[in-house]
């Protein structure tokens, strides 16, 4: 026998048709009411009859995490010889002072995102920057201080130099520390001031040294480069350079990068991907490694004229 409770329940539901909670009588028109306030009417659909399909959560695809920096297929990329790229760049930079405008190079590497990065200094055959001012931390009035001054340091000393740094009187853009003054440097507590400027001497950057002469000579006209996001960037020449000068600088730089790449351990292999030449306000040209212009209309001598 069928129970009557089911029947009664459905009857009771009929009597409960009136909303359990009276609607707020609002002065704003119905269409302006937020969707929460309007009663939701849902109809059974064919879809939901089979199961609770519309309750299924949308699966958010997890993005694949790449371990290496992205490398592109270069077959369709136009690549230029050094002279062709220089012709365009000289046209883009026409009328700008040739010593302040620079050629820049970006070397893209095939490399992992983690692991060691390339970081070194290079002394280019034709220096790009000529405004290097070096300060040396070494015992005051010692033969070392005299040597540093003779080599062209703008500031020499220990406590006098630290005091100048604390007062913000930084007249130099490179700082070297002799090993003898290492303890004094640590005691001086100037890391917070020098660190953000990238001036803090350390063995890692080869600025904590016993050979003042060698380090200073390397530093004058030496440029630092560093791999960031899989790319090494460096100002490689002034706009006034001839193609031969720029080519010499590029060769020296590429040689250095390749040696550094080989020195990294075997578990972190780095390979050369692309070399792009640009200028201060010119576009970037992917280089094909050749020097001579591709067409008959351009000669190397044409690019040696005054800008």
């Amino acid at each position: 026998m069928a129970s009557t409770t089911q029947c009664l329940a459905s009857l009771a539901r009929l009597s409960l048709r009136v909303p359990a909670r009276p609607m707020a009588i609002s002065t704003i028109p119905n269409f302006l009411l937020p969707s929460v306030a309007t009663p939701l009417v849902r109809y059974a659909s064919k879809k939901s009859s089979g199961g609770n399909n519309n309750m299924r959560k949308r699966v958010v695809k997890k993005k694949k995490a790449y371990k290496t920096f992205r490398s592109y297929d270069m077959t369709n990329m136009d690549q230029y010889s050094l002279c062709d790229a220089m012709r365009y760049l000289r046209a883009f930079e026409v009328g700008s002072p040739p010593t302040s405008v620079k050629y820049e190079v970006a070397v893209k590497l095939k490399t992992q995102k983690n692991g060691p990065v390339l970081r070194n200094r290079i002394r280019l055959p034709f220096p790009v920057k000529t405004d290097t001012r070096i300060a040396v931390i070494c015992p005051e009035d010692s033969p070392l201080a005299l040597e540093a001054q003779q080599l062209g340091a703008v500031a020499v000393g220990e406590e006098s130099l630290f005091e100048a740094i604390r007062q913000g009187n930084i007249q130099f853009n490179k700082l070297i520390c002799h090993k003898e003054s290492e303890a004094a440097l640590k005691k001086a507590n100037v890391g917070k001031l020098l660190g953000p400027k990238g001036l803090m001497p350390s063995a890692k950057t080869k600025t904590l040294t016993t050979d003042l002469k060698g380090t200073m000579q390397e530093m004058i006209g030496a440029d630092e480069f560093r791999e960031r996001n899989g790319v090494v960037r460096l100002a490689i020449g002034q706009l006034g350079f001839t193609p031969q000068m720029l080519s010499d600088n590029l060769k020296a730089f590429m040689g250095q990068v390749k040696t550094d790449m080989n020195q990294i351990d075997d578990s972190h292999v780095k390979l050369l991907d692309e070399v792009v030449l640009s200028s201060t306000s010119g576009p970037g040209f992917s280089l094909n490694g050749k020097l001579n212009p591709s067409g008959e209309s351009l000669k190397i001598e044409d690019l040696e004229s005054v800008m």
Partner: protein
């Protein structure tokens, strides 16, 4: 680094505009050097020379890579704006080096126009209060430069770029409309929600 396709597309459109357009002209071999002098800012009639330098001179430099084009900008706005075109005399030796040195371009007025070398004469264009198009026209008539016309392939590329630019304008208008509608609706909803909340609080 930016993806290869994006870079290639941008670079090609830039190179197309530097190879073609007003100023793309090949100078006759007797033009030895060009010197421009004008002020740093546009006031007092220095806008034309500046626009010429920015828009036309790169094209000239691309087509004549061996000709020095010197720009000397000065601080003093009241100074005249002049262009000096150095032209070799017909009977002078073309291979001999110039007897007066050419200075580098300068932004602090250090590169004044050099005196003409032996066997060289100077044509001067006073550029003050001149439009860059007028400067270009008188430059071309004085030097007898031959304008470079785009090749058929380049013309096709330029037309493609132009149609892309026009389509971009249409698309931009469409998207702007869409975004504005969405913003308007969001603002209305927010206002209604505020009102509903205040009504609820009042009850």
């Amino acid at each position: 680094m930016v993806a290869v396709g994006t870079r290639l597309h941008r670079l090609n459109s830039k190179l197309l505009t530097i190879r073609n357009g007003p100023g793309a002209a090949i100078l006759p071999p007797d033009v030895t050097r060009i010197h421009m002098e004008f002020a740093m800012r546009m006031n007092d009639g220095h806008m034309g020379p500046r626009k010429f330098w920015r828009d036309n001179l790169p094209r000239l430099k691309f087509w004549n890579p061996a000709v020095p084009m010197i720009v000397n900008r000065v601080k003093d706005q009241s100074r005249p704006a002049t262009m000096s075109i150095y032209i070799r005399d017909a009977d002078a030796n073309a291979d001999a080096p110039l007897s007066t040195p050419t200075p580098n371009s300068s932004t602090v007025g250090h590169s004044t126009a050099p005196p003409p070398a032996k066997g060289e004469r100077v044509e001067v264009i006073p550029m003050k209060d001149m439009h860059s198009d007028t400067i270009l026209a008188s430059f071309i008539s004085k030097t007898k430069a031959v304008p470079v016309l785009p090749t058929s392939q380049e013309q096709i590329q330029m037309d493609e770029l132009e149609s892309l630019r026009q389509q971009a304008e249409v698309d931009r208008a469409r998207v702007r409309k869409k975004v504005e509608a969405a913003k308007k609706e969001a603002a209305m909803m927010a206002a209604a929600r505020d009102e509903a909340a205040s009504l609820k609080a009042a009850m």
